[in-house]
Symmetry: C2
Subunit: 278 residues, 2 copies
């Protein structure tokens, strides 16, 4: 089996593919996938070297589908990427902004441009993909339509950028995870990500966080997802500073095992550099 390059969700020109290029270089071979869970599958079976999936946007928050895949997949997190998101309004070369009657994009991209799009007063339609919307408008020669997508998508499909930087907030960043079939080597300046569930008794979430506080491990993110087994019971996702082989993390995780009903270490990986400006 020939191992292909890096899998990402979406059509060529997707933000996820931009993240791949930022992290692995622009010459990297990329493999488009229909869904995030397909990215996980190709990574787990070794059909690709790595998968890159969005996990969180600084404006719209967490990407549920990625968190749900992390529960069931056996892949490991071996890196993270932070990408500055610049949304463009993209149409056929012959289309002017006053021709546009309908705008297509992924719900998250539309949400991030809500304020700008409201000023246009045109119909907004959801689709599965940002770059895919650009492709659809090109293939269908849709003269009264525009898509919200990246500059890269406009270039790939030879379409026109009507407006650039239409996102409502300038500090719009998406954080991606690099997924791999195997764990990465120890490195400095790491984060460790874990999933766990806690007993259904008062104070159990607090007790699990206490293990990190006791050992001086700084938490950078907590997220919860339903277990789907019993209503209102959750998996917690915790990102914290340090590699799992460093003493403080090691002690915290050893203690955490005793206070949880389920614990899975998703991986230790170098923190994204550069961090976005604060």
């Amino acid at each position: 089996m020939k191992t292909r390059g890096i899998a990402f969700q979406g059509e060529h020109g997707a933000y996820s593919e931009e993240a791949v290029h930022q992290h692995f270089g622009t010459e990297t071979d990329t493999v488009p996938c229909k869904t995030i869970s397909e990215v996980f599958n190709l990574t787990e079976t070794g059909e690709v070297q790595h998968g890159v999936v969005p996990v969180e946007n600084s404006i719209e928050g967490s990407v549920h589908e990625t968190y749900d895949s992390l529960i069931t997949s056996n892949t490991k997190i071996t890196g993270e990427i932070v990408l500055r998101v610049v949304h463009c309004l993209i149409a056929l070369p012959s289309t002017t902004i006053s021709d546009v009657k309908v705008i297509y994009s992924h719900p998250q991209a539309l949400a991030q441009c809500r304020g700008y799009l409201a000023t246009l007063g045109v119909e907004v339609k959801v689709s599965y993909d940002t770059a895919g919307s650009v492709k659809m408008i090109r293939d269908g020669r849709m003269k009264d339509a525009a898509a919200v997508a990246s500059m890269g998508a406009a270039q790939i499909y030879e379409m026109n950028v009507l407006r650039q930087g239409i996102e409502d907030y300038g500090h719009n960043y998406t954080r991606f995870l690099v997924m791999s079939a195997k764990e990465s080597e120890r490195a400095p300046m790491c984060k460790t990500s874990v999933i766990f569930s806690v007993p259904h008794v008062p104070g159990s979430l607090y007790a699990s966080l206490e293990t990190f506080a006791t050992h001086g491990v700084n938490l950078t993110k907590i997220e919860s997802r339903p277990t789907r087994q019993r209503p209102w019971e959750y998996y917690f996702f915790l990102d914290s500073e340090g590699h799992r082989d460093e003493a403080a993390q090691k002690e915290a995780l050893r203690e955490l095992v005793k206070r949880t009903t389920f614990l899975k270490v998703l991986g230790s990986y170098p923190r994204a550099r550069p961090e976005p400006p604060q």
Copy 2:
């Protein structure tokens, strides 16, 4: 100004309207709104008695738009409703299941029937609304289309139910919040919901949860949303047991003020009855 009934998001026949009927009775006057933030606005200005908004589904997790509205709105939470969600596949009376080439619904409803829909092997398209998809198929006489929506939506639009109970998980419940312009009276068996943000220093989230543990207050849910002011800084939403005027809650909240940079009490309200079976 005449105060109208209860506002909800979606078209008539939406699950939110079912929740209104379950809680306030089937004779209640309902006011459909295009968006969740419109429900909050009508409630805040007193144009409706209450608003009812979905906050969490037992399979798909939290509804981001509701959490974001809770940050900015001045409304109070005065109740909660738990609704058992039964999804139906709905089409024109002349359409049989083998005629269906495309299925429309809200992304959350589609996600909850992912397994069943995959067995049909037809195209799936996202729309803004479950009941709205039924209405669209009826109005457009779309003979090769079906929608995923409630039994109530099929009845209202006089459409045919091709399959009932197509959700992948039987324990599919949605939790709704009752929003009001003013706080509710003290009652037994309450929950209290708060939003807060913490200083950007190690251990600050843990320190804020400690206030509840110290006073023996049981946490039932924690959720985070981006502040949108600085990347990777969050508002935390916390539900806990007890009314804000009860001694333990009162002490916990008094201590919490000192450990947070922002704190808003969203309300104390009676817990939903009956709880779903465990």
